[in-house]
Point group: C2
Chain length 516, copies 2
């Protein structure tokens, strides 16, 4: 038996009966999920060329992880928080689970905005989020991933941001999703404060129902939120490590979401490098998150279990880019990718992803094939030895185990879908609101529902989605609109309607190709 393998044989003698759970090799699993981290927000270049932005960020532990594992250059999330998290938990595409936007804190309150100039009415979507319990209004009901990992013998731990569902519904609590331990996760999508000195927002005058829970021991101290939940995660690992139980750690950072609260431990470096205040603060938040990753990697090494642990680093959507708070010019902070959080352009959905799994995943490798967030579900079930587990929902994701294992096959038939029949902010953003998109191979089509417009891009030659070539490739547009329409209809995906007249926007394949 090689290093990095673990065989557990349990013989339980109970009331005269011998129950033998047969041994199997189960690696520990860590999903290290960052919030709102853009594809360019690190010193690790996910782009094939290093960009100026890669030079100012400082993420040595992401570099370390990438050196020891596989870096994905075409990894996708959805464009906002909750849909990604629900896809992770269910293996469903967002257009299918219909949690197409982030969930509000109180139940029954869609988070959508509207404006006088907006011609569309947002459809009814599952605005209460995911539910592990049937018959909760406006939720998607399904079998959550942690429950299936628990069934496979895993000790399941949730730390940090949950935001799977609204308060007052079962999905608000990770304890209803199959997690044995939950620290801090609830319906909150962001902290009031990253500062222990401010009790992470648990102070008079703050909105109390989004305050972060379970961290009272750090109140009044200088412990930054990212550090506090890291310590809590390591503490939570002690039980499965001690009992030699394989664990699933869902380490979901609140960082690097707003508020833009600098981590004082790391910020000076960025001021010294001449960054403006917004960029320096944001970079310190990224550095702080990276430090957390390093502490976790150190812990696994110290405990001698790094070699039997799969780490998946991921971000829940692209970097926030509609204003200048984080420095830079609005709508440019993810360049060369177009747009950012909220948008179905690459800046909103393409995210940093790294997988480390010694003995299984080739160190220092780069993988260009696409993966999308719902793929985590079947992948982790396969890793955990619970492949094909029964689920209430129909799973859309496909296991990326072959990619991890380094097979060379390319699935040319696969199409990835994104669907955002919502309006993100009070302001109108033509490149963010009411979009639906599909990628197949290097072709990507975006359907602008408000304008009834189709755009086509060839990502291999135009990653920045600068040249809309829909007019030049009507057959490709037809193929992709048909595929997209079939998927949306099959999933009964929510579609906006026109305020005037009230009829639903056309399906993508009903739209006349621009310039045709």
């Amino acid at each position: 038996m090689g290093i990095g393998k673990r065989f557990v044989v349990k013989l339980v003698f109970l009331a005269g009966c011998w129950h033998v759970a047969t041994g199997s090799e189960k690696p520990n699993i860590v999903v290290f999920l960052v919030d709102d981290m853009g594809w360019m927000d690190s010193s690790v270049p996910f782009c094939d060329a290093e960009m100026p932005r890669n030079q100012w960020f400082h993420t040595p532990n992401m570099e370390r992880l990438a050196k020891q594992g596989m870096l994905f250059t075409n990894a996708y999330a959805t464009s906002v928080c909750t849909p990604t998290r629900v896809s992770l938990m269910t293996g469903m595409n967002a257009a299918h689970h219909r949690v197409t936007n982030w969930t509000s804190r109180p139940r029954d309150i869609p988070s959508d905005f509207d404006s006088e100039t907006n011609p569309l009415k947002t459809p009814v979507w599952n605005y209460n989020g995911f539910s592990p319990v049937a018959d909760i209004e406006h939720t998607v009901y399904g079998t959550p991933l942690p429950a299936l990992l628990a069934d496979a013998g895993y000790f399941t731990i949730h730390v940090g941001k949950a935001h799977f569902a609204a308060a007052g519904t079962p999905g608000a609590s990770p304890y209803n999703m199959g997690f044995v331990v939950n620290k801090s996760g609830n319906m909150a999508g962001m902290p009031q404060s990253y500062y222990g000195e401010q009790n992470y927002g648990n102070i008079e005058g703050k909105t109390t129902d989004i305050a972060i829970h379970d961290l009272t021991e750090y109140y009044g101290t200088s412990t930054y939120l990212t550090e506090a939940i890291t310590r809590e995660a390591l503490k939570a690992l002690d039980y499965p490590v001690k009992t030699k139980t394989p664990f699933f750690l869902y380490m979901a950072h609140y960082a690097v979401h707003l508020p833009l609260h600098e981590d004082p431990r790391f910020v000076q470096r960025f001021y010294d490098a001449g960054l403006d205040s917004g960029a320096a603060k944001f970079s310190s938040m990224v550095a702080s998150m990276d430090h957390s990753l390093g502490e976790l990697m150190d812990y696994l090494e110290e405990k001698g279990i790094a070699d039997e642990t799969l780490i998946l680093f991921f971000s829940d959507n692209g970097g926030h880019s509609i204003n200048t708070r984080k420095g830079g010019k609005a709508h440019t902070q993810n360049l060369p990718l177009k747009e950012g959080k909220g948008s179905l352009h690459e800046g909103g959905i393409r995210v940093p992803m790294i997988a480390k799994w010694p003995g299984h995943v080739k160190a220092g490798s780069r993988e260009h094939r696409s993966v999308i967030v719902e793929d985590f579900f079947p992948t982790l079930l396969e890793v955990a030895g619970n492949k094909g587990a029964k689920t209430i929902q129909r799973v859309d994701g496909r296991s990326f185990m072959p990619l991890l294992k380094g097979t060379h096959a390319v699935d040319t038939s696969r199409a990835l879908i994104w669907h955002y029949p919502n309006k993100w902010k009070k302001e109108d953003f033509a490149t963010i609101d009411y979009l639906s998109a599909i990628r197949k191979g290097e072709w990507k089509l975006i359907y602008h529902m408000a304008e009834g417009k189709l755009s086509l891009y060839h990502l291999a030659t135009d990653m920045g989605e600068v040249n809309d070539i829909a007019g030049k490739h009507p057959d490709k547009v037809r193929e992709l609109t048909r595929l997209l329409t079939d998927k949306l209809k099959g999933w009964n995906s929510p579609m906006p309607s026109f305020k005037e007249g009230g009829q639903q926007v056309p399906w993508p394949d009903e739209v006349v190709i621009n310039n045709e």
Copy 2:
């Protein structure tokens, strides 16, 4: 092997080595701790005769527990919350751990009150509470019980009220005490609200730093706090039950502490019985707590593990009795016991206690020998097979296993000590503030530090502490003051001083006996 026994044999094969954890019989342990429940606050008579108060409360599940187990008529806590909880966690007497009063939410703020008429200055005590980490100012450092139970193979669960220490110190988090799971426990000593409709206090305009954590799935629902944490407790038990791991559930209700929020499920019965509003509301809170006990007992039965589970029912101090909010006349609500919460008279420290342990504890038995809260520590270690475990602190408690097992020996040498060198409220209460007390056999002596007065009672004949017979029994007074003084000196217990002159109050054995 009989019913109610469990043998677990684990063989773990790791990197070529066989580690064999030998089997042992370990019962599950439930400590069901109620807050502020007085000795007379149930339909179970802890007094030898049933009292009118027993007739109006409705606690069928306590009756059920008592029928199946052993009822203790002389069980003692300390007179306020935190000291009892720290004694439970450390096995130390409060005069020894020096957490003699309840801890404030923020650190470094003693919770003591003062008044112009108060002649004494409260001494420095461990007002930051218990700490599982060394060198935290104004804490008692020790090895917590759950950590030792975890060492003994227990899966350790904290649900409800912790209140072991102030925020900003390690003791604020049950996760630092050896608990693997914690739901809702922090530095808060009471909820802002028992109502889901009010998010248990997590709403604008409430003091946010004592709001209850981890219950967001019930926000906006009609789930009463006592019910919510019961459901969370049962959920938490699923993991150890499924994995057949012995568990320690520390089920610490916020109920029946103030605020006086009626449980609508149970209150009508008490209005119908003609109780006034305060009494009806309070009785519904007690009934609600009792319902929780029933749900827990049902769960254990359904899972087939009731017979291998030790349940210890206990309250953290006597019933609150300084006003009429809960109905009745002030300072009388624990009659026949004198006074209530805060006081070292029997009403403040004698509490309901029931132990159920099938096959070990005789069903329907009554035990008149005394036990005190620090005895839980060595008892539970013995139950868990970790007797004599190494601890940082010197343990004062004695195992009451012989009592559970029904031995007839009486330890005539044992003396129980209480020490409250504090002032409870803004108002002065001669029968509450600045008291130290000792019970040996049926004799109880109280030292009133402010007045320099000693009182002696014979509890077997005067449970109500009506007849101070110190003047008639100078030898007994001398014996008890000497014993008490030796203990307090040995523990370096905090003693108040006179505001005027600044010298410390005399030790008990320096006080001249009244009427002598």
